[in-house]
């Protein structure tokens, strides 16, 4: 993008942002001057005005007292509590007028989100905006975990429902402008004693408690305690995967399963282990599930009259359990993922929790090791362990959730991961260009010769130009205003190419290593 384009866009956006107030402004400004002239004539009438104003003031005070009482009750008595849950949990108390009285974090993540923002007296809309914005900026809502739960607990059920719908819609549209799609779950709270005591016992918001309660009621596989440590995204995935209908919770959008292997990979793993070709397997079920503290894929398929059932760790791909059912015989195997037993052998009871290598000081058998957590982070970031610098890893316990905090640098980018130690899911992922965007006086063009010497695997500007021209279907002789810049975005090196041909403006982003066209645009000049 050229500087002049950016400038034009900035000018446009800010010009559009000006409110239509010309008449008021001019009236104010010119009227003001007029008033100044009149004022000088008023002094003689002062004494009459004085007594009139005294009476007026008394009356005004009385009226204000009455209004003040109404104002107070509308604005200061707590009417409703709105809670937000993602991983961070936050409770917002609002008055009848939907003005915020208090904002409380229910866990440490929530406190991080609130930071030092002060909301008292603000409109609920503004506060929701600020909190969701903060979650986005801090990496709690992203590609990998996009679900948010909003719960409204108020005395007036009609108002609560209306508020719930309005806020859910608002958050939905906020998230839909991001690069990923959000999944918004919303509900009004049906405050029973049981719910309150569960929420208190596990120290979670009423909202999360009700969601878990709904899932547990609909699905006997789980107990309440099982699900307490899961994030809203995980809870969302479990309930949608199993096709459960929840009593109180309404859901828009789809929970992200991008931090998991995906159903296709799970199927592959299962089929391979069973020594069955993927195409020959008749899959009956592929579902994301939560079992024994681990997110797994439940995969079931038939082949040649044999029924196969697998439980595959959704993050690591390790086979947690498998079951083969031939007519007349069944064998149940819990298995360590690394040895592949051919499907026909039976009584091989190698019981072992699939994800774990025995290690030091990890207290429960259902936790992943620190090394495994690092692996997960590196794989996700697309870096090799050898290329990583400044590695820091810490195991932490936060409101009952045990996680690994992993930080490292690679290729000029700083990564920050939080990984659930039990399920291996990536709770949070942040990336930042090392030292921020400041690179001194030069313009955005990164000279590409230094980069070429350190990473000899770049395709080069000439090749990139070829790829772009070919895709555009134009020849090098027919183009004008050609520019090509090597740039780096989120760790992906790409050539940014722009040119014009006939009446069309072309723009390409070409992956500098693979030559893939990341982005292409064409703009016809009318």
């Amino acid at each position: 993008m050229k500087n002049k384009d950016i400038n034009a866009r900035i000018k446009r956006a800010f010009t559009l942002a000006v409110p239509d107030v010309k008449d008021a402004v001019i009236k104010n400004a010119t009227g003001q001057k007029g008033q100044a002239i009149i004022m000088t004539n008023v002094t003689k009438k002062r004494s009459v005005i004085k007594s009139i104003t005294a009476f007026g003031v008394a009356a005004a005070i009385f009226v204000f007292a009455v209004l003040g009482g109404i104002f107070y009750s509308n604005n200061y008595t707590a009417a409703t509590v709105v809670s937000l849950d993602v991983n961070p949990s936050i409770e917002i108390e609002i008055s009848k007028n939907e003005r915020v009285l208090d904002v409380k974090a229910k866990n440490a993540d929530g406190e991080l989100i609130i930071g030092d923002m002060n909301f008292n007296g603000a409109d609920i809309d503004v506060v929701i905006n600020a909190l969701v914005g903060s979650m986005l900026r801090n990496g709690y809502l992203n590609d990998l975990a996009n679900s948010i739960l909003i719960s409204v607990d108020g005395k007036n059920t009609e108002r609560s429902s209306a508020l719930q719908a309005e806020l859910a819609e608002k958050i939905n549209s906020m998230l839909s402008t991001e690069a990923f799609n959000g999944a918004v779950m919303s509900q009004t709270i049906d405050k029973t004693e049981k719910l309150t005591s569960l929420a208190e016992e596990f120290d979670i918001t009423l909202g999360k408690a009700q969601l878990i309660s709904d899932i547990v009621t609909a699905n006997d596989l789980y107990t309440f305690a099982d699900l307490v440590s899961l994030s809203i995204n995980e809870l969302n995935l479990i309930s949608t995967s199993a096709g459960t209908t929840l009593e109180h919770v309404e859901s828009k959008g789809e929970a992200s399963d991008k931090s998991y292997l995906g159903e296709d990979v799970a199927k592959q793993i299962a089929a391979e282990h069973a020594n069955v070709t993927l195409d020959d397997a008749a899959f009956e079920k592929v579902e994301l599930d939560f079992d024994d503290g681990v997110m797994v894929y439940d995969v079931e398929f038939r082949h040649d009259g044999v029924e196969y059932e697998y439980e595959i760790n959704a993050v690591t791909g390790a086979i947690v359990e498998f079951d083969v059912d031939k007519d007349g015989g069944s064998s149940n195997n819990t298995n360590n993922g690394s040895d592949k037993a051919p499907a026909d052998t039976d009584t091989n009871t190698n019981s072992n929790n699939g994800t774990n290598a025995p290690s030091n000081g990890q207290n429960t058998t259902t936790e992943i090791t620190e090394d495994r957590a690092k692996e997960i982070a590196f794989t996700h970031a697309g870096v090799k362990a050898d290329d990583v610098k400044g590695l820091k890893a810490e195991r932490e316990r936060d409101d009952g959730v045990v996680k690994y905090e992993i930080e490292f640098y690679a290729d000029g980018i700083e990564y920050d991961y939080e990984i659930n130690a039990v399920t291996g899911t990536i709770i949070k992922c942040e990336r930042e260009r090392e030292g921020g965007a400041a690179t001194g006086n030069s313009s955005s063009a990164q000279p590409d010769s230094p980069s070429d010497t350190t990473s000899p695997t770049l395709i080069g500007k000439e090749k990139a130009k070829e790829i772009a021209l070919e895709h555009a279907g134009v020849s090098a002789d027919d183009i004008r205003d050609y520019s090509c810049e090597l740039d780096s975005d989120d760790g992906v090196l790409a050539y940014e190419i722009e040119f014009e041909s006939a009446n069309v403006d072309y723009e390409y982003d070409i992956n500098a290593i693979t030559g893939d066209i990341i982005k292409s645009e064409r703009d016809t000049d009318d």
């Binding site: 950016i6 000018k11 942002a17 000006v18 107030v21 690069a179 965007a437 030069s442 313009s443």
Partner: protein
């Protein structure tokens, strides 16, 4: 008749010359001239105020106050061919006065300012992103510089003078800001 004259005037004179003429017209008692000045400067004033205050209500207040101030100070304007700079200085002073008077108004999130575009039919998603990123991702100084350049068309040299900064400082802050914005805006397009 007046309209015809003004369009002729604006066609013949440069923007600066036209503005100066209108300012002196105000001194002579011509209040319509303020309207002309508004048409030529409202975007610059509002954008600049928004860039400093980050808050649309305050920016709107300043928009009002600015033209009142222009009316009242027109007499003391010295024609030095820099009427825009004069107006921007008025704007900036009004903004800082506001900041001094109530400091804690700035928790109001950027979204509130971006939502100003809700009422404008022609505003696209990209406009929202541009507005948001300018307000959220640039430092205060970077933002002021970018707005003065992109919206009002000031040269870097002029900006350096207006903000009392060294020219190289303005240049490097400007290019850093544009670099940031380019990244953020192209990311949004993916």
């Amino acid at each position: 008749m007046f309209l015809y004259l003004t369009s002729v005037i604006e066609a013949i004179l440069t923007d600066s010359e036209a503005l100066e003429k209108y300012i002196s017209d105000i001194v002579g008692g011509d209040t319509d001239a303020l309207g002309r000045i508004y048409d030529m400067t409202y975007a610059s004033v509002f954008a600049y105020a928004l860039s400093i205050l980050k808050n649309r209500h305050d920016a709107e207040d300043v928009l009002h106050e600015c033209y009142i101030s222009i009316m009242n100070s027109a007499e003391s304007y010295k024609p030095e061919k820099k009427p825009m700079a004069w107006i921007m200085t008025i704007t900036r002073n009004l903004c800082y006065m506001k900041l001094r008077r109530h400091k804690t108004n700035s928790f109001i999130p950027i979204e509130d300012a971006v939502n100003v575009l809700d009422d404008k039919e022609e505003a696209t998603l990209e406009d929202r992103i541009v507005l948001r990123e300018c307000l959220a991702s640039l430092s205060d100084e970077e933002r002021e510089i970018v707005i003065l350049h992109a919206v009002s068309g000031f040269r870097h040299r002029e900006i350096a003078e207006m903000l009392d900064l060294a020219l190289p400082t303005v240049l490097s802050k400007y290019s850093r800001a544009i670099h940031k914005l380019k990244k953020l805006l192209t990311k949004g397009e993916r």
